[in-house]
């Protein structure tokens, strides 16, 4: 069998040009990397091909609006921008509460391209930025895996990360969000850190600090980096691998990196105030002490050193403990805050902060999310870890820690699967390439033995060639299946713009639901410039970006009390809600209703969160969740539904005049296609609202708030 396989291989390779070994190596490397980079760009373009080049979801619209402002008004205006069109009447200091990296990158690309007279619209730059950076990520992953093990692992890792669904989900064309560039910055920082640790040069330490600055400017997840790198240094100290190289690397990175990170106004003085950054400071101090101790040990006699060592350790430990306690108790160093604390104690958000708990991305992860987003990599991850543990080096310890911590965090929050995907690719690349190298070596050995002695020399290894061939074949097949899975997942699950919906009609044709943009453009063209729109916070960013009107609450969710007030307005009866709406100067109210089309992410399905958040503050304490359930404890909108629910403002706004509509054959009028029931309260009139606009498929409904009566009663 061996001779036949080898003859076929030689026939194929004889067609390729005769090159020297080095040149063939370089050609292969460039070929694989080029294909991986192009593939990662191409696989993210499904939604652009199916719909159009449009920005997806909710958060990207805010980023798009700020990028547009930056390109129109310049950096200084952008940095000092106070936005009075959001969070009316509070406003929002945008300059100081965003991570500007994404906007500055897009604006830079836009200006460079326009300088060379390639007049590309800023919207297209925003849509295609994430795929472009995913190509860069492929290259950086190659270099990182090459530093950790060898070139072969680098190539496999680059190929794996170009299509991994866990990363694609947040970096598809149109998903203009911080994570699109943050993963690139994170891997670049890690690459520079590994190089700094391996060489111990200030040059790489500085490059690492600069890459860290780019990371801080782009995503709030930089906290992960500034805790992982000190954790790595600590681990090296514990395992006795601390050397002058690591000392130089970490000192440079910490000092320069912290100073640079404080240049971002959103970060400000957090690196010296908050507990999330204290680990880095602590390890920095420990590094200095460790190196000093090593220095003193080399100069003193053993006995004198021991005495000095014990005294200093006790003194320093005592002083640090005292100062730490004092600072925490007096509040100068603030403890871990909400979002990051919920990573350490996952039940904290569920019990205390309903807004964090309500976001679906913040739910813990089930097994199917792991398999769906990573497929073959979940098998190869332990294999890569095994090979790293087999030959422990400073760099390997880093990737092991990164892998273990990110597996835990991905298990706590689905959204953090994004942070897990690169390390899964790197470790799987290491595992796959090590296995393949071992078994290909077997095959080469066997063929050499065959040529030389014509007799199997290793009696303890029967069918060596066949076994190796089948292992290589299985791995090749599973990599191919991985590719199929990834492209299928990208096409089916992660390429929907969610601002444009599509469905298959009965005869197989496609219906496009463009109701959201229809409603926002109606608002833009038919309402006064200073009109204030009230809606649930999900739609805030889209309304400001597309309709250009002032809103009360948006996706930033920085003010829980304000959101709670809106929740109270939605859950109360019309007259109580009217008081709240007049207090907040609301002119229009916007709701999303999916009952006619079967769109299940509408406001009635989100209503219980409005009740919970509305009832969570003082002024809303009369709103109790149980009032909105039936006596049996169910949430129903039909005749058995709770009367409080059937008369609250959200119900009335969603189902106004819906009782006369026939939605499905064989069902009575007013049949809600999402809840699958006939609604309870059908014929009612609105007292304080007036229907302003309902879109074609009743997805978005806009109501005008009536003015006070002319003759006040």
């Amino acid at each position: 069998m061996e001779t036949e396989v080898l003859k076929h291989v030689e026939k194929v390779t004889s067609w390729l040009p005769r090159l020297s070994h080095d040149k063939r190596d370089t050609l292969l490397k460039f070929g694989v990397l080029a294909i991986a980079a192009v593939l990662s760009f191409a696989t993210r373009l499904f939604s652009v091909l199916r719909f159009e080049s449009v920005i997806h979801e909710f958060d990207p619209y805010f980023n798009y609006r700020t990028t547009r402002y930056l390109t129109e008004n310049g950096f200084y205006q952008f940095h000092n921008w106070f936005d009075d069109r959001a969070w009316y009447p509070l406003g929002r200091i945008i300059g100081g509460t965003i991570y500007p990296g994404l906007m500055v990158t897009s604006a830079a690309f836009y200006h460079v391209m326009n300088y060379f007279n390639m007049t590309i619209d800023i919207r297209d730059v925003c849509v295609f930025l994430a795929p472009l950076f995913s190509s860069f990520t492929t290259i950086v992953t190659y270099h990182l895996a090459k530093e950790l093990r060898d070139t072969a692992s680098g190539l496999v890792a680059a190929a794996l990360i170009s299509v991994v669904p866990g990363y694609i989900s947040r970096s598809v064309a149109g998903s203009y969000d911080n994570e699109g560039i943050a993963i690139f910055c994170m891997l670049l920082t890690y690459l520079m850190w590994i190089k700094a640790v391996k060489t111990g040069s200030i040059y790489y330490g500085t490059l690492c600090a600069l890459a860290y600055f780019y990371m801080v400017s782009s995503w709030g997840g930089y906290v992960f980096l500034i805790n992982l790198i000190p954790l790595h240094v600590l681990c090296l100290m514990i395992t006795g691998r601390f050397s002058h190289k690591i000392y130089v690397a970490y000192s440079t990175v910490y000092c320069l990196g912290t100073v640079l990170s404080m240049q971002i106004s959103f970060v400000g003085f957090q690196p010296v105030h908050t507990s999330e950054h204290m680990a880095a400071l602590g390890v920095f101090g420990l590094c200095q002490i460790h190196s000093f101790v090593d220095y003193v040990r080399s100069k003193l006699s053993a006995e004198a050193f021991q005495k000095l060592f014990k005294t200093v350790v006790i003194a320093v430990a005592g002083v640090t403990l005292a100062i730490g306690t004092v600072l925490t108790v007096t509040g100068k160093v603030s403890p871990w805050t909400g979002r990051f604390y919920s990573l350490l104690d996952p039940s904290y958000a569920k019990n205390n902060i309903p807004i964090i708990a309500s976001v679906s991305e913040h739910q813990p992860t089930a097994w199917s999310s792991f398999y769906f987003d990573l497929q073959m990599l979940v098998f190869m991850f332990p294999v890569g870890l095994y090979f790293c543990f087999k030959e422990l080096t400073d760099a390997n310890i880093f990737i092991i820690m990164y892998g273990v911590t990110s597996i835990y965090f991905a298990g706590v929050m689905v959204r953090l699967m994004l942070v897990l995907a690169p390390v899964m690719c790197i470790l799987s690349g290491i595992g796959i390439s090590a296995t393949l190298q071992n078994f290909c070596r077997n095959m080469v050995q066997c063929s050499k033995e065959q040529k030389s002695t014509k007799k199997a020399t290793d009696q303890s290894y029967p069918y060596k060639f066949e076994v190796s061939f089948s292992v290589v074949a299985i791995l090749g097949l599973s990599l191919g299946l991985y590719g199929f899975h990834c492209v299928w997942v990208t096409a089916e699950a992660y390429s929907s713009p969610s601002i444009v919906l599509s469905a298959r009609s009965g005869d197989g044709g496609r219906i496009i639901f463009d109701d959201f943009r229809e409603a926002y453009y109606w608002l833009r063209q038919n309402t006064p410039e200073d009109a204030k729109v009230m809606s649930w916070w999900d739609y805030g960013y889209q309304i400001t970006a597309m309709a250009n009107r002032t809103i009360l609450v948006d996706n930033n969710t920085w003010n829980n009390t304000h959101i709670s007030r809106v929740g109270q307005a939605m859950s109360s009866t019309e007259d109580k809600a009217y008081e709240i709406m007049r207090e907040l100067d609301v002119n229009y109210v916007l709701v999303i209703f999916g009952g006619l089309t079967g769109y299940s992410s509408d406001d009635i399905n989100k209503f219980l969160w409005m009740v919970r958040i509305g009832g969570s503050t003082d002024r809303g304490s009369h709103i109790k969740e149980n009032d909105y359930y039936t006596p049996q404890g169910e949430f129903r909108v039909d005749k058995q539904g709770s009367p409080v629910l059937l008369n609250c403002m959200m119900y009335k706004m969603c189902y106004y005049k819906f009782g006369q509509v026939y939605t499905e054959a064989g069902k009575p009028s007013g049949y809600d296609r999402v809840r699958n029931v006939e609604i309870g309260n059908k014929d009612f009139e609105l007292d304080v609202l007036e229907e302003a606009y309902t879109t074609e498929h009743w997805l978005v409904r806009i109501y005008k708030v009536k003015d006070y009566e002319n003759r006040g009663i």
Binding site: W367, S369, F379, I407, S460
Partner: protein, 149 residues
Amino acid sequence: MEAIYRIPFHFLECPNLKLKRPSWIRQPPAMVVFAMVMLSYFLVCGGVIYDVIVEPPSIGSTVDEHGHSKPVAFMQYRVNGQYIMEGLAASFMFTLGGLGFIILDQSNKPGIEKRNRTMFLSVAFICIVVAFLMSRVFMRIKLPGYMSV
């Protein structure tokens, strides 16, 4: 200076503590740490954190046409939802696949008897193939539209 330092020690006496790091605390070998990491990987991939927060039942149940309640192993149509048993079964498959490759690597060492090597190789192949196929089957049960347009 010495006189001032000596004042407290006129009425305080230093305890004669002999504190030594206990000798049984040692850095664990690399493979022991790897085993602990594998255990935590098994637990996290099985969705243990999801189980603790959301508290799903161990097995779901439906009612069939005769009114008897039948158990349901996999929570269908939801990518991010699971029952406890299905999570543990799936992560068992993941760990089995990983262990298969590790055994495969161990079986490649020189100096193993023929009998042991064949055993290692057959166990490794069975682990890998079973793990791959079962995971695919589980996913198809969970999402009936998986891998079909």
